[in-house]
Symmetry: C2
Subunit: 547 residues, 2 copies
């Protein structure tokens, strides 16, 4: 039996497009003499549906396209793809997260996901009911096949012998069903560096349990904050890799189960490059799936905006990216020059708009009204908000989306101005520490100096008051970054002065992040909707020891 | 046996304060000759913990205060209160949502919640493991008592014979356990109009099932977007009400089980007045629990800002509320006069700051930079953002929180400027339709004209261009409001022109609400964290029929 792995980029609720992709890849699979083609989780609906499922017409609409597929699927090949289906239960939640097996002219078969993720960015227990993978075994072409969906293979014990699930449902299936010939997993699994190894481990354990080859088909593409990386693969029960597909691109691969061999793309790519690809795809898909073609951003002459500009150009092309230099008297003249040089290197337009006059006029109105005399935080934030206002004006003027340029280290420390530099429709590098920002910049400069080197060597500064440096207000970035990884990614508290400082800062600044734009998630745990912290809480009173 | 119902206002992670309240109310109960006192769900931890639970030190810290209670609880009375406890399971999530029964000098007993809500604002399946209420029966003073926590009594069929849960765990207990003398429920149940009836129904059904009296003890107080209303009560198995506590205030009531009688506060209060009280408590607790004492807002001379000002004065007192009139040349002079009159009536300070000059200067910078000639949407948004910038400056200048004044009808239609009138630390009336805004204003004017009548009679206008009226851009408010209730609260689509228009508008404007401040929830389904809609989706392509 030959099986095609169709790693498609499905769009949420874009059923027409998803249906066409499924049929298109089914034809490609048939051309490759395959008996079956498998697609990712929720390939027809798009993933993650979130609360679109509260509108009952959504799944009814999807079902019309499901019927279309049943009617127009190519003959001679079985299609297995993810979809949301109605439970029709009187007692239970309304939907299953299902895999549908379609063969032209036959009654479709349905298999339901058992383990429903609710951690981090996931919310499946809101509208999805629990299935039973023990019911997901079927025969095709004389082969006994077990169908699992994403989380279904995530209940293996970790190295400490722990799991967040009371039981591993795979073990129950292994006890009940003998002679499984093939295990399939349809996934929509978001990317973070090192995720490949985690998945490999789960798939190898599962394959070994059933003593059967296993195919893992992952979604590719981005949905708001979440980026799916593809990298679908297959293994034999000895853990030998039989097939591997591309990262961050649609792809199709074929696995010949009789010969036990498949197509393997084996290019080794470093994590930093994968993060870069994830962010590029995240920007591109957010624009494409919201119907926008153009973006713009403030170019400060600093490293964060430089990186966002590079990513945006990779995502949308230089003609769809526009930079604005927005100097005040506090900006070194070098800042605008560096921004202009960067824009030139990238081939994007840049416009300079001085904020000095509007800033002064606003200050002239605000200071007397509020009894302010000395320059202070008010005026720093004011500059950031004048910039935000000008940049947002361009959104209306040119139907272009503003990209926010904050990074994760700043977001953690609350070192940003709400409605100022936090403005934007998307915050592409909001999940990168400052160190990662430099690493990705270095990547862009590997072949030639795309980002003016001086941008990478000058001391980071918000340039909101004379001679300001980030390190006047923040710990050294290498220290801060490590503290951010420990606290935000691992949720581990530390006792060092800098870690305690960061803990207080994170807890105090939840109100800002509550109102942040969507952040492209490229770590194990990012800010954004996958991290739900309350604002009105006194956690600092028990957690922060030294003040 | 005499039981005290202690309806306290717990604060999230403020263990010291929560512990003191628990001990304080235990003493009050003892003074009232009670044998037992019961508190709300998570009374020690505060509710809803959300992702505070990802930090393992949180519950460890809570446990130190739990030990304090065990050591210093008054003798001669049993205390039953909610807390988060560690499961210590190798396989399963790390915590239970528990009720702890403390008797001085005895080993404490623990009872765990079985049904974990994941819908709307709730997220319990992230860190909480499923308990078994069948294990929650204990003997005290010769009485056999069943302990349930909030959602545990919510699996009764609705009038269509449906439930979102596969089974009602109460029925399993009723089968297994005979002779239950008393059923307790510890809740943290958020308010919406009509919720009382829903709870009454669940409690009466449960009481009847066990043929035993039942006490329902609900949290009071607000946590970010969620307002708990208290209104704890008790019934006998025939459905007769035995006790009822205050709405929106801490309270203690006593139930004598031998005499089958209790304290009843029976004042009938209309829904509109309860919504008003909910919003006042929401503002007050948000400020108190974040350590802020002062708020300010823009007073437009319109009905929304007038209502928010009234609510803020009720919450914090007139000396802690400040208004700003921020006129441009598009504002009728009447607007500022009405704002001033309102401020005078409320006894709050008002300051007028014209935005005309900064607006013109910004326009003078923006128009040439972006090739704009004619007045347009850019300039409307610009005015709103200049206002937002000035109001946010006051936040820094006076350590005061800006209140956003958008209502639910505007939020649904996307009729608001991101980073403009959406600015603020809290959006108090973001869950009120325009009609409800008027109803609450009428309430404030019942005794005398607190809100100048003309504010209530003039046509609503954003006053961002000459002779603008809301109804130039929006359906009539009564039509819009009904459509909002159907679509947003009930998730029901309609086919009328206005309903179709609203559906498109809601789907298009998700990107704005993603970045909205916390919204006080006073309906069955509000915008905010309890409604998780994706931005990048094509739902309109299948849902919106007429364009």
């Amino acid at each position: 039996m030959r099986i095609a792995i169709a790693q498609i980029n499905a769009s949420l609720a874009d059923f027409e497009s998803n249906k066409n992709k499924i049929l298109d890849f089914a034809h490609k699979a048939l051309e490759r003499h395959c008996d079956m083609v498998i697609f990712p989780e929720a390939a027809l609906f798009g993933y993650h549906p979130f609360d679109l499922l509260e509108i009952s017409e959504m799944v009814e609409a999807q079902n019309r396209f499901l019927k279309d597929i049943e009617k127009s699927a190519p003959k001679g090949i079985g299609l297995l793809f993810g979809a949301i289906t109605q439970t029709k239960l009187k007692h239970g939640r309304p939907y299953y997260n299902s895999a549908v097996f379609v063969e032209r002219g036959k009654k479709s078969r349905f298999f339901h996901k058992e383990l429903l993720p609710t951690g981090d960015v996931f919310d499946e227990a809101r509208f999805i009911e629990t299935g039973r993978i023990a019911d997901n075994v079927f025969k095709f072409n004389g082969q006994k096949i077990l169908v699992t969906i994403c989380e279904d293979i995530w209940a293996w014990d970790d190295k400490n012998g722990r799991s967040q699930y009371p039981a591993n449902p795979l073990k129950a299936v292994a006890k009940k069903e003998k002679g499984i010939d093939l295990v399939l997993n349809l996934s929509a699994s978001p990317y973070y560096p090192g995720k490949e190894k985690v998945r490999d481990d789960l798939v190898r354990k599962t394959s070994a349990l059933f003593k059967a080859p296993m195919i893992y088909c992952n979604m590719v593409g981005a949905q708001d904050e979440i980026v799916f990386d593809g990298q679908s693969f297959a293994v034999d029960p000895k853990g030998r890799e039989l097939a591997r597909l591309m990262a961050f691109e649609e792809d199709i691969g074929v696995l010949d189960l009789d010969k036990m061999e498949g197509m393997k793309r084996t290019e080794k790519v470093a994590d930093a490059e994968k993060i870069r690809q994830a962010l590029v795809l995240g920007i591109r898909d957010f624009c494409r799936k919201t119907g926008l073609s153009k973006v713009h951003l403030g170019l400060s002459g600093g490293v964060d905006s430089a990186l966002v500009a590079c990513l945006a150009v990779d995502a949308l092309g230089p003609s769809n990216v526009k930079g604005f230099a927005l100097p005040s008297k506090f900006n070194a003249s070098e800042s605008e020059e560096l921004a202009a040089k960067l824009a030139k290197n990238l081939g994007i337009e840049m416009k300079t708009v001085s904020i000095q006059q509007p800033y002064e006029v606003l200050r002239g109105v605000i200071d007397p009204a509020m009894g302010l005399k000395d320059f202070g935080l008010v005026h720093e934030n004011l500059q950031a908000r004048v910039r935000g206002t000008i940049l947002m004006a361009y959104s209306n003027a040119a139907n272009s989306m503003l990209l926010a340029t904050s990074n994760k280290s700043e977001a953690a420390a609350g070192y940003s101005t709400l409605y100022g530099d936090m403005c934007g429709g998307l915050m592409p590098i909001g999940d990168l520490t400052k160190k990662q920002v430099y690493t990705l910049c270095d990547l862009y400069n590997r072949e030639h100096e795309l980002i003016p080197q001086r941008i990478l060597t000058r001391a980071p500064s918000a340039e909101l008051r004379p001679n300001q440096k980030d390190q006047d207000s923040l710990p050294e970035y290498d220290v801060l970054d490590r503290a951010v990884d420990r606290l935000v990614v691992e949720a581990k508290l530390g006792s060092s002065r800098d870690e305690q400082w960061l803990l207080g800062a994170v807890l105090r600044s939840e109100f800002k992040r509550w109102q942040a734009p969507p952040i492209l998630k490229v770590s194990k745990h990012s800010f954004g909707r996958g991290r739900r912290f309350p604002i009105a809480q006194k956690a600092s009173s028990v957690l922060v020891k030294s003040k």
